[in-house]
């Protein structure tokens, strides 16, 4: 419509295509997150107050839960394991991160890469490998001095492997933000290194340490794969929820355990948010980055320490590879690919692997697009401040929700025949949706941060040039954010490949995933094929990572003409 027309219509509110799109997008985003985040979670609360037939019973489920000695024991078990893992993983990761950021230890890039290995594997893999190492017929079982790996020891080791890269990344970030001037000042005042460590390094990294501690605690308490495989009779909350729902079909008790699991996650999430805000303010723009100077003794000591950790990490993966190739452990040690013949072992066979690929691909494509658009509308649309705030708030919720709880919530919400969306139940779509939601927050925050750095006047310029905002988003914001868009797509893909927790409640026979197949095959005693499938997942992840390195590298080379060096 031309300007003259709009003058004639001055009485009516004029319609602006660009603004209409962003308003509709914003409302659509809010709608989607309400349906796929808020509503399912609400059903958990409702379910916990009902009996299995749907009648309101008040707090009876909770009373029943807390009167069962076995179930209460699970709480103690979970907390105990989580505390031990938190201390162990934080100590290891702190030392490792310190070596990477504050020493001149040789091979730091390689060590950094090795530390990321566990991210490429489902958490089940470490448990299976541990059984091969320390189980009843384990290769180095003697190292346990008669203790059984089936139980707390196995769970602690397995989960430590799985959470290590997550903790390490937080620690590295915390230790990277050092101001060299503080150390120079300390040295000028003849402060001992030891004292400088406790008065500068540790306080400087304290927010990272706190944040890491809570993250490990939550990851541990909500992890399902490791205790399921190696826990034996040692019950924890995460396995209880599975037993209640899948084993005993008691949805209301499952809901109660789900709510209990939600507690540590919400606390950890809140602490993390507060701590992150403080950490941002800590490093001033004037800080001079700390550059470590060589110190033979220190560097060698850290090399030895990091090598030990690396041996543990590689050892676990190596064991899994070995286990998948040995014909019949421990009796026939010839190597073969017999365990990779999934069609002969599992009714779903290779289909679960291709299902996983399909699911991960959809998750990457749909997730990246939806999350980017959501972040764009939160950050760049004008007007409707309430809707923008609401969308941002809803986007933060998934981080506080353990995968198991999310999966359970989806079961309650979508299996209800009264729900018009119940058609989703048992389809590939619900697996994709739950995975996108599960990993929404991290992706959302990355996009919001990146979009904040894009000039905030582009929308104004674009409007003055009569170009609708969505066109400018496509022509300017997307190209600027492309490296991050690729990062997020890969992040979603990898997590979709390895995740077990939400999917374990949501898969149907024809949509079984590779990670679930690992779980099922291990359950029926096919440990070698389970290891083989886990290795397939790792291989896929490695390939995807390599593709990412190549694609991002060539993209950055091609766009280096205009891409200013910033941030990274």
């Amino acid at each position: 419509m031309s300007a003259a027309d709009s003058t004639a219509l001055a009485g009516r509110a004029p319609i602006d295509g660009g603004r209409l799109v962003s308003t509709l997008g914003l409302l659509a985003g809010v709608g989607l997150l309400i349906v796929f985040v808020a509503a399912p979670l609400a059903t958990i609360f409702i379910k916990s107050l009902q009996d299995d037939l749907g009648a309101y019973v008040g707090l009876a489920n909770f009373a029943k839960y807390f009167s069962s000695a076995g179930l209460i024991q699970s709480i103690f078990n979970s907390v105990e394991i989580a505390l031990v893992v938190t201390v162990l993983a934080c100590l290891l990761a702190f030392g490792y991160a310190y070596a990477l950021t504050r020493t001149c230890m040789p091979g730091r890039t390689l060590f950094r890469a090795i530390a990321m290995i566990p991210i490429l594997a489902p958490s089940l893999l470490s448990a299976i490998a541990l059984i091969y190492l320390f189980g009843n017929q384990g290769m180095i079982k003697g190292l346990l001095f008669g203790n059984s790996i089936y139980g707390p020891i196995g769970i602690v080791l397995g989960i430590t492997f799985y959470v290590f890269p997550h903790v390490l990344m937080i620690m590295v970030t915390a230790l990277s933000t050092a101001d060299a001037r503080l150390y120079e000042a300390a040295e000028a005042m003849c402060t001992s290194r030891w004292r400088a460590f406790w008065t500068i390094t540790v306080p400087g990294a304290r927010y990272g340490l706190i944040s890491a501690g809570f993250v490990v605690f939550t990851l541990t308490i909500t992890d399902f794969g490791v205790p399921k495989v190696i826990g034996g009779n040692f019950n924890v909350l995460a396995t209880d929820i599975y037993k209640q729902v899948v084993g005993q079909q008691s949805f209301s008790m499952g809901a109660v355990v789900g709510l209990i699991l939600l507690f540590p996650a919400i606390i950890s999430f809140s602490v993390d948010r507060i701590v992150r805000r403080k950490q941002v303010a800590q490093l001033s723009a004037r800080a001079v980055p700390y550059v470590p100077v060589p110190n033979k003794i220190r560097d060698r000591a850290f090399l030895a320490f990091c090598s030990l950790v690396a041996v543990f990490l590689i050892g676990i993966i190596g064991t899994a590879v070995f286990a998948s190739l040995v014909t019949y452990w421990p009796y026939n040690l010839t190597l073969s690919l017999v365990h990779y013949d999934f069609n002969a072992i599992d009714p779903n066979g290779w289909a679960s692997f291709t299902n996983s690929l399909e699911m991960a691909a959809w998750t990457a494509v749909i997730g990246t697009s939806v999350i980017f658009l959501g972040a764009y509308f939160v950050e760049k649309s004008d007007g409707l401040p309430f809707a923008r705030g609401l969308l941002h708030m809803l986007a933060m919720i998934p981080m506080a929700v353990p995968g198991l709880v999310l999966g359970l919530a989806y079961v309650f919400f979508f299996s209800n025949p009264l729900n018009p969306l119940s058609g989703f139940y048992g389809t590939m779509a619900i697996l994709v949706l739950s995975t996108v939601v599960h990993f929404y927050t991290v992706s959302h925050l990355s996009f919001v941060t990146a979009l904040k750095q894009v000039d905030r006047e582009f929308e104004a310029v674009s409007a003055s040039l009569k170009v609708p905002a969505y066109k400018t988003m496509w022509r300017v914001h997307v190209p600027i954010c492309l490296p991050l868009i690729i990062d997020v797509a890969i992040y979603l893909f990898l997590n979709a490949m390895t995740t077990v927790s939400a999917a374990v409640f949501l898969y149907a026979p024809d949509t079984k995933l590779a990670s679930i197949a690992v779980l099922n095959m291990d359950d029926v005693g096919d440990q070698a094929p389970a290891a083989a499938m886990a290795i397939m997942i790792v291989l896929t992840s490695v390939c995807v990572k390599l593709v990412q390195v190549v694609v991002t590298g060539s993209l950055l080379r091609r766009t280096s003409v205009w891409r200013r060096r910033d941030g990274h």
Partner: protein
């Protein structure tokens, strides 16, 4: 677009000699009682202003005075809480930015980093669906206009700050807007580049005759560029006038203090109407003396302090003690104290000549005078008062 058709094409207007002075009032933009509130905070309080077609208007004021909010309201980037804005006879108060008619340049350049200079300048034209050849010609014309004829294929990152801002200017002019809005366009640039670009912008504006509104906190910039300066403070307009009017006849202590360098000394008006600083009486033009008694601020500019040829009998003659001298290149600024001014000190500018001829140095004592027609009196005793909208000089007349 019929909007564009009403105006001469860019090429034509570029060829025009300086826009003929519009003798009769030709209002292009009218702002009526515009208020903008953020919660309890009033960013704009009842702003009314008319801007003539083809003029260059500067909104001048300290940060937080509301000048940027007013500019953004004109663009539709902020929606005013109340009041109306009429542009070229069209009520645009409730139109979204995309349906208003303006080009805009920001302090941060806001060039699209992933697009070449050509693509940046032609960004809006491409969206209009014009033929490629036509766009290329127009873009080249615009780049020549801003003296960057050969930079079209470069990316913004390869250009200096000054060059980027020229590209932003070319982009803002590409759609032949009726109104050009400049939001602190020179503030991010180096001092030297800033002055060069300032001249070019003024020249360009004259040639194209496009009505221009610029926001700045730099009074020198405003005085050098604007046909009309709008001095703002605390969400209100303090004074509207030509640079000369605003500088030489500031209507409030705020304007006096903000525009140029001004000495503001605490004084009193006695019952008999005499003005004193401490125990020293001053003679002033009666029109300058407010019709009231009590605390006032006596103002004069450092360059208006006379040292040469001060007779014993000269009006407002005092003995000044030079406390310190700042050498500022072509002249020096002295901090001067006077016995009986109750500790009030002021600044006086001394040319290199005077400094030499009188042998003035720190610690010197010498006579000076304050010409009565250079003295101004404002009510209140707070130096950066500014709250007074009603100038006393007028109230007294």
């Amino acid at each position: 677009m019929n909007m564009a058709a009403k105006r001469p094409a860019l090429a034509q207007s570029a060829r025009l000699s300086p826009e003929p002075e519009a003798a009769e009032s030709d209002v292009f933009l009218e702002i009526r009682d515009v208020c903008k509130r953020f919660g309890d905070f009033s960013a704009l309080a009842d702003i009314s202003l008319t801007i003539e077609r083809g003029s260059f208007v500067c909104f001048l004021g300290p940060s937080g005075c509301g000048k940027t909010t007013l500019l953004r309201s004109i663009a539709g980037l902020e929606r005013q809480s109340s009041g109306r804005i009429v542009q070229d006879g069209r009520d645009i108060s409730n139109l979204p930015p995309s349906q208003r008619d303006f080009g805009i340049v920001f302090q941060s350049y806001s060039l699209f980093p992933n697009l070449t200079v050509n693509a940046n300048v032609g960004y809006g034209l491409v969206n209009q669906g014009l033929p490629k050849a036509e766009i290329a010609t127009r873009v080249q014309e615009l780049l020549e206009l801003v003296h960057l004829p050969t930079s079209g294929r470069k990316y913004p990152a390869a250009l200096s700050g000054g060059e980027q801002q020229r590209v932003a200017l070319a982009r803002a002019l590409a759609m032949q807007p009726g109104l050009l809005l400049l939001d602190e366009p020179l503030s991010a640039l180096d001092a030297k580049v800033r002055v060069d670009l300032r001249h070019e912008m003024k020249d360009l504006q004259r040639r194209l005759g496009v009505t221009t509104v610029m926001v700045t906190h730099d009074q020198e910039e405003a005085l050098a560029l604007a046909d009309i300066v709008v001095v703002m403070s605390k969400g209100k307009i303090e004074q509207v006038g030509t640079p000369m009017e605003v500088y030489s006849r500031p209507q409030s202590a705020f304007v006096a203090d903000f525009v140029g360098h001004m000495n503001l000394l605490r004084g009193r008006i006695g019952k008999d109407g005499s003005v004193r600083i401490g125990e020293q009486a001053l003679s002033l033009d009666t029109a300058q003396v407010p019709d009231r008694t009590g605390e006032v601020l006596v103002s004069f500019r450092p360059e208006d302090v006379v040292f040469r040829g001060v007779e014993e009998t000269a009006e407002n003659r005092f003995l000044g003690y030079v406390e310190s001298i700042d050498f500022l290149g072509s002249f020096s600024r002295a901090r001067v104290r006077v016995d009986g001014f109750e500790g009030e000190a002021f600044d006086a500018d001394l040319s290199a000549n005077i400094l030499r001829d009188f042998g003035i140095s720190e610690g010197s004592t010498l006579p000076f005078s304050l010409p009565r027609d250079r003295l101004c009196v404002y009510p209140g005793d707070e130096r950066t008062a500014g709250g007074r909208a009603q100038p006393v000089a007028e109230a007294g007349a």
